[in-house]
């Protein structure tokens, strides 16, 4: 009797909590079953079966909702690389290098996908090592429709795997902005392969992987990184700077004018990046719940505020707000809000965006000119700088009310009174900087020895489209 009543209570409460819409109809029948003589074991068993069925249905309904959003998000993140980033970068280079830079992004969609399937996913998300995963999922062994409860209990592991893959695809592609207009295609392929294994995979595991050193939930130095401020943007941005310094300037830089050949392409690319970023950040909730909404709103606000910040700074300096400035600002804001998206409320998101817009504007215009490095398309100035400022500000503005990641009632960021989190963020930032720096230098040396890294001066002047790929972006005579 007691058991049956308990079951009934559970049944009713489950209906009320989990399936609010259809709850009314079945709920009206439950009092009848409760008031009927429920002592018989038949009735109890029947109820248990029904309860189990209902449990399954509730789980299936949640999984369907979450999975729909996560598959959409995965597609959105892929769209960020191609065509988003490819167009954004493609428009910024000179006409003779358009296809080459687009191809460098597109090649990652092929190359990294293959590496991910073979062992990348396993090394990033298998096992519970401190620094790197294991080989339990090589060739995607054991990755099926059953969820991986370590990461996302409500979606098929296949979805989680393919979603994370899209991040691994875009991260190396970001680096090509710094090496644009002078990097060999063979060198790109080799460098990116090595970079994926030496820098991306270990850091992805350390920050997001179970047992990872910097994992927010249980790591030694819990670093908050909702969607990849450290793993994606600091690693790619810092590596981009190292590559630009190692490679040297483009022939003719900075005397010869090298204006973007089509800001229209860049404009379309930047807008696609903005839209795709909703999948990047809101998808990082790994579910379609309130946290996704929170991250979605923060993402949008961060981008808008940064576009505003950059434009205003530029207006003050040059007397004009340029289209290139506005779209660059938006991307800088998206970068900066990435680690914070699932931890901050909308107003702090505006503040983060505004700071990032002005900060990245100064990095790209002042700091770059001061040191004279040729970060051709400002991969460091936007992703390295924006990722760093965003990661630090995450420690300031993160709030338990948005995401109680350290447990119920425990403060998260400085706004909750936990100033120590800013220190943890700093450790995460410094670690990512150092890791990307050292890893990239080693890989550069190896790449230079095997395939070479930079095209000959003659090829650089002729353009990479013809010399690397044997084709032209714009064949005007036809």
């Amino acid at each position: 009797m007691k058991h049956a009543v308990l079951c009934c209570c559970l049944f009713v409460s489950l209906l009320a909590v989990a399936v609010p819409l259809p709850a009314q109809a079945p709920a009206s029948t439950t009092p009848a079953s409760a008031s009927s003589p429920a002592g018989s074991s038949d009735a109890s068993k029947e109820l248990n079966d029904k309860l189990a069925q209902l449990d399954q249905k509730v789980a299936a309904a949640q999984s369907a909702g979450d999975n729909a959003w996560m598959l959409t998000s995965a597609a959105l993140v892929l769209m960020m690389t191609g065509p988003g980033l490819a167009l954004f970068y493609g428009g910024l280079v000179r006409r003779k290098n358009t296809l080459a830079i687009m191809m460098q992004s597109f090649a990652m969609m092929g190359l990294i996908t293959v590496l991910w399937a073979i062992c990348g996913y396993s090394l990033a998300f298998g096992g519970d090592g401190k620094f790197i995963g294991d080989l339990s999922h090589v060739f995607l062994r054991g990755v099926g429709v059953a969820p991986n409860a370590d990461y996302s209990a409500t979606i098929p592991q296949l979805t989680f795997m393919v979603y994370q893959l899209m991040f691994a695809v875009i991260t190396p592609a970001l680096i090509t902005g710094a090496t644009a207009e002078r990097m060999k295609f063979s060198g790109t392929v080799l460098f990116m392969t090595l970079w994926f294994f030496v820098v991306y995979v270990p850091l992805a595991h350390m920050v997001w992987g179970k047992g990872g050193l910097l994992n927010a939930a249980g790591g030694k130095f819990p670093c908050l990184d909702f969607a990849g401020g450290t793993v994606v943007h600091i690693t790619s941005g810092v590596s981009a700077l190292v590559c630009a310094l190692y490679m040297g300037k483009r022939v003719g830089f900075p005397k010869q004018p090298m204006p973007p050949h089509s800001l229209v392409l860049s404009f379309i690319g930047a807008c696609l990046l903005w839209v795709g970023w909703f999948g990047f950040n809101a998808g990082s909730a790994l579910a379609a719940g309130g946290l996704a909404s929170s991250a979605f709103v923060a993402t949008h606000f961060g981008a808008a505020a940064a576009a505003f910040g950059w434009s205003v700074a530029e207006w003050f300096k040059n007397g004009k707000a340029s289209a290139l400035g506005a779209i660059s600002g938006a991307v800088a804001g998206l970068v900066a809000i990435t680690p914070a998206a699932g931890f901050v409320r909308p107003m702090p998101a505006l503040v983060i965006g505004l700071i990032a817009g002005v900060f990245c504007y100064l990095m790209v215009t002042k700091v770059k000119a001061l040191f004279g490095y040729d970060d051709a398309l400002d991969a460091f100035g936007v992703h390295g700088a924006g990722g760093t400022i965003g990661a630090l500000l995450t420690g300031v503005f993160a709030q338990a009310i948005v995401n109680p990641i350290f447990g119920d009632g425990k403060p998260v960021g400085a706004r909750d009174g936990n100033w120590g989190q800013v220190g943890n963020q700093l450790i995460g930032v410094l670690f990512s900087w150092g890791f990307a720096l050292v890893g990239t230098i080693v890989i550069l040396k190896i790449t230079d020895l095997i395939t070479g890294f930079r095209v000959t001066e003659e090829h650089e002047v002729e353009g990479l489209d013809i010399t690397q790929h044997g084709e032209e972006a714009y064949y005007l005579e036809s």
Partner: protein, 112 residues
């Protein structure tokens, strides 16, 4: 026969073309060109990098005219292409020895 080359402001091109058609001119060759005379260029700024653009876009009209039409055409262009600001362009005239229509090998002014 005279060859007339006129470098004009792109913004004036449509008016010039219409006026020439009204004046009875049937053919012309038009090229988009870049160049500069006394007009200074402008500066463009891309992410803080400043470029001085000193070659400005212009339109070049070329036509070969029978002698009797030269003055009309020059007057028409002067009237319609002028904005009064620096950068309005120039007109060059030169003698042409021969004109040949490819289709039927007509020669001289009747080939124009």
């Amino acid at each position: 026969m005279m060859k007339l080359e006129a470098i004009i402001q792109p913004s004036r091109f449509e008016s010039v073309k219409d006026a020439l058609r009204e004046a009875g001119i049937e053919g012309m060759t038009v090229t988009e060109v870049r160049g500069h005379g006394r007009q200074k260029g402008h500066t463009e700024v891309y992410r803080g990098r400043e470029y001085t653009v000193d070659l400005l876009p212009k339109i070049k009209l070329e036509m070969v005219l029978p002698d009797k039409l030269v003055n009309t055409v020059v007057d028409t262009i002067l009237k319609t292409a002028k904005t009064g600001k620096i950068g309005d362009g120039k007109i060059f005239l030169s003698r042409v020895e021969e004109a040949i229509r490819i289709r039927n090998e007509e020669r001289g002014e009747s080939a124009l």
